[in-house]
């Protein structure tokens, strides 16, 4: 197996794809096993790291995408004359968190958790590409369900949903009471 050649081809494909491209597609196009592609991707990433390359290949579920390292954000922004985008609002983060940890979920589920209308926030998160429709739930009214996207993973430095930070356990009736409250106090005293 000519590893070097395969690596070059994979780099070329991932670069040209721009958007995340599935490992399975790369494997099919190159007529090799998926495990070979994954192995090559790891080798490429190591090489980029050793060479201090400004690029990285990020894994997003079963796809891969080429992107720049965060430390180049400022210089890229100034060259492309992009304004620093406003960070996600507290409300947007709450909606994203609710969807990320419970997906696929309906809008009304999110609204129940937050206690407020979330339609405009959901619309803007869809526009930003952070969430997308995930079909309809098979319950009365067939509501649209939402899930997070590969852009979500990339934006939070995750390669899959399993990497989401672990949530605090729901406090048990009496046991964890004191501890939980302490944690919450920290949180409230922000």
């Amino acid at each position: 197996m000519n590893w070097n050649r395969l690596e070059r081809q994979i780099e070329a494909i991932v670069f040209a794809a721009g958007d995340p491209i599935e490992i399975s597609r790369i494997a099919q196009a190159l007529d090799v096993e998926e495990s070979v592609v994954r192995h090559c991707i790891n080798r490429i990433r190591e090489r980029y790291f050793d060479d201090q390359s400004p690029f990285d290949l990020v894994m997003l579920d079963n796809a891969v995408q080429m992107c720049t390292l965060p430390e180049y954000g400022n210089v890229i922004r100034s060259a492309l004359e992009l304004r620093r985008t406003t960070p996600l609002s507290q409300a947007a983060l709450e909606v994203l968190a609710t969807i990320a940890y419970n997906q696929p979920v309906t809008r009304s589920f999110v609204e129940q958790v937050r206690g407020v209308d979330c339609s405009s926030i959901i619309r803007s998160l869809v526009k930003k590409g952070l969430i997308e429709e995930a079909g309809r739930l098979n319950i009365p009214g067939k509501p649209i369900a939402y899930r997070t996207t590969p852009i979500f993973l990339r934006s939070f430095g995750l390669s899959s949903l399993e990497q989401l930070p672990v949530l605090p356990e729901e406090p048990e009736e009496e046991k964890g009471e004191a501890k939980q409250l302490e944690g919450q106090m920290d949180f409230f005293e922000l």
Binding site: G18, M66, F156
Partner: protein, 242 residues
Amino acid sequence: MDTLSFTVAEYQGPLDLILHLISKHKLNIFDIDISSLLEQYLNAINSWKEQNLEVSSEFLEMASRLVYIKTVSLLPRHEEEHEKLRQDLTGQLIEYSICKQAAKTLGSLYIGQDIFVRGPAPIKIDPTYTLTHPASVLLAALSDAMGRGARRLPPSQEVFEPLVHRPIVSVTTKIFSVLRTLRVDGRVKLDRLYRMNTDRSGVIATFLALLELMKSGKIALQNDQVELISAGKKQEPVSSPR
């Protein structure tokens, strides 16, 4: 518009406000004192009104919910319901505080604005769709798509029929249904007969049917085993209770 966003910026919603009040006034989230929470909550809303801030309906809805929980607590013999309402609120608050925490953690991970990707290379590829599907999936998709829109229309009268005219289950029907069950099995658990009903009137009709059948000596209740014995099986019509 500015005033509205001011309110929204301070608190994400009524749950957020309550969490704030609970921490500020050192209330116990697991044993909320509804009276003092309600007082603090109404104070907050009133002060917004004094500042001419627009108070969105969600905050008023929560106010009326808190008032209701307090009212129930004042009624005699409603401890259970009051406890349930309070626990529902506690559960919701805990869930929301977890959501807030998750949002904060996620926010600290956000690198979306510093990572850049590029668009697809302008390589000539043919993006034409090549798969084929049966046309019937279109119809299914259309009815799913219209589900939402259709529901915006006022509901037809038939929709309300089942709510207004509950089906009345006759005792006679239930007598037949009980006998049919017994003819198959010989004996049957009482609660299975009840569980065969989907509504209250069915349960009542079953109960009356059983009384009727016992009175006429067709069936008997086997003391504490909660079983029915068909009289047709040649057993003692009435077994002596212990």
